[in-house]
Amino acid sequence: MDGVGLEAYLIVGAILFGCGFACLLVKRNAIAILMGVELLLNGANLNFLAFARFTSLGLDGQVIGLFVIVLAAAEAAVALAIALNFYNNHLSIDVDSAKELKD
């Protein structure tokens, strides 16, 4: 149509998703992991919008995309609060130090 098809957007979304996932795996800082989650959500969100644009999903895709953004904001707020609590208790933001439940 425009010369840019659905696949292109999906691939970008996949790359963002993969990068977000990589953040989860690689980062030790809890806040960095949060950033990875944001990337994950954005990758998924891009897929919603791409399908909204190119398939019959239409307005529904945009509404869901909006909800995802809002929920991501809420998630970020709570997760950050948890991270701060974590920091208060451990004096560290390293998620690898969260091992109390192991033993």
């Binding site: 989860l24 690689v26 998620v95």
Partner: protein
Amino acid sequence: MPETAETSHLIVRNLLTAAWLLPLAAFIAQVYAVECWSNRLSRASGLLGCAAIGGSLVLSLLAVAFFPSGSGSAHTADDGSNHAAVDAEHEAHPSATPAALAGRYYTLARFGDSRLELGWYVDSLTLVLFVVIGLIASCVHVFSLGYLDDERTEDYRDEHAHAGDEQPVSRAGRFHLFFAYLSLFCFSMFGLVLAGNLLQVFAFWELVGFCSYLLIGFYRERPSAVRAANKAILVNRVGDFGFLIGLAVLWTSVGTLQFATEVDSKGVTASGLFEQVRGDGQLELSDDSKSVVLQRHLEAGDEPAPTRPTIAYTLFVLAGLGIVAGSIGKSAQFPLQTWLPDAMEGPTPVSALVHSATMVAAGVYLVARCYPLLAPEVLLVVAYVGAATLFIGATIALTATELKQVLAFSTISQLGYMMLALGVGGWGAGVFHLSTHAFFKSLLFLSAGSVILACHHEQRLDRLGGLRHRLPWTAAAMLIGTLAVTGVGIPNPWAPGYSLALSGFHSKDMVLASALAFVRLNPLHSLLYLVPLAGAGITAVYMFRLWLKVFVGRPADQHVFEHAKESPPVVLIPLAVLAFFSVFSAVGGESSWLYRGLVTSEPAFVAASSTSSAIWPITHPGHEEIHAAHGAAGLMVWLVAMAGAGIAIWIFGYQPFSADELRATFPRLRQFLLDRWRFDALYDLAVVQPVLRISRQAIAIDRTVIDPLLHGASRLLVQLAGWGRRIDELLVDGAVVGIGAWTWRSGERLRRLQSGQLRQYVLWLGLSVVVLFGVVTWMRPG
């Protein structure tokens, strides 16, 4: 005087109810209040008991005053003013039920039409007994204040009871307890007399029995007292068993135990026992003479049912026999007389009140009360039982060696007279003798008590003697009692009622007259006249023997004699009162107020001579026949009694033979009598030994059969449990433990995966997704 019948009715009821309940209140107060608030040295309990029974007496007398004299509620008061026309008066009562007031306090239970009630039944018999019981009980209470004075201590030494080391038992005094028992007994006795139905009678019957048990066993440290109490209660059970059977038969067949016909506020009538059985006076037999037709009361306008309810004649006889069996037990009649002599283990006032005057008379009272329910055959049995009893009791009394024993057998004998009188149709004679006997026998017992008190509980006849110098008042009182029981007097054969004589003469005279009249009508049963006649003589012998041995002659034991001294006034005053009544209560014989009052309660059918029987033809004398025989009978019995008295005075007063010679005269007979006709041995052999043998065998069976069986079963169970345990341990536990251990090991292995590294988990997640995707792709068809 009350204006209306209903008012007097109510007043009498309330007075008697109060008289009945006063001793109960006293009992409760004595048991709880006195026990809690007073000490053992206090006389409060006794005074309270005296006050209560005195109050009861006064209330009873008031009730007599208010009772519509000589008639039921249907009659006007002018009947009471007639002193002479005894017979005519009775003929004026066509109803089978005597003049009586009845009612109920409340209903205990209701089964369909049948009801169990707490009721009351008052006729002149009730009233007389209330007065007699109240009077005697008052005297006994007062007497007891003196007699049991030594119980008011914290440390009572009982010389007759021994602990293991031959030392006298030392215990706290039981003054208050004695009076509590007495009060309870008085309450029970009043209730028994007042009861409105047979079940209530039975309840109080058992209650007096229980009181008797308590009082016989008052000295419970003494093994003999305990034995006597047990014997009394057990022997009474035999009679009570019969009584219960009788009750059951009546309840089943007649459907009520109520004495009186009852009309409630709606006008509905519930026929009582007497009306149902006797109807218009005589038993109405069915056509085949095999059953008695019951006279149910009919509602106004009701048609008589085509088939009226009946009771089989044999059942009717059985019911009567059951009631009589109860009487035999309670009144110590042949063959259950053996408990009464042993009951003398109780304190002497108890013997005076319970075991001579009142409780043992309850059997006679029951027969008298249930007279309409007794078939002629049953009455015959009663008569023979009475005859046998009076003879056995009199003969044993001849050889009895202890003061109270003599009196006990005398009581048995006199009760036999009463039964005999009832059995031969002399209803009035029986209850008349019951009343007079109550006075003089309690007088005798209290005199004996006075002697015992004076002689420090020495009551063996061969240890006493010559005490009239020491105890003149007691001796006089006892002499009056002896004269009364022997029936001494100056007879007037033409008008026997106006003889110059003591009470015993009049009543025994009546009994003998009834017996003579009966024998005249039924010559087959001549024995029923001869035996009591002989008994009268024997009575005179043993009673004078007793008096002479105690109060005349040389003192057998100088020590006892020296220490004996006249009892205090508190003991002597009751003696005086009772002596007065013993002398004067029956003045006038048939015309005396006592007799005339009593016969107003007599069932109507007794008044006329009647011949009725389904099995044996028996003719009962009416008043006329008895009256006709009165003169002859009185003269005969006077002669016999005088002869007996003379023999006794000759033998024991002038003592022509020594005691050893006397003993050697009829050794076997004497031993037979000393063994009390070997009834105890017989019972021991017939009942006690078999029971013991069966018990031993039961024990043996228990030990040899049942115990091994149980042990074997338990051992088997233990074995089985052992196997079960092994299975449990091997299979079940093994499985459970094995699963647990496997889970543990698996958990330990899986635990290594649980690194706690969140990011590692995410790594596994992603890897799993990729691997799964690869697998799915590889497996994708096409």
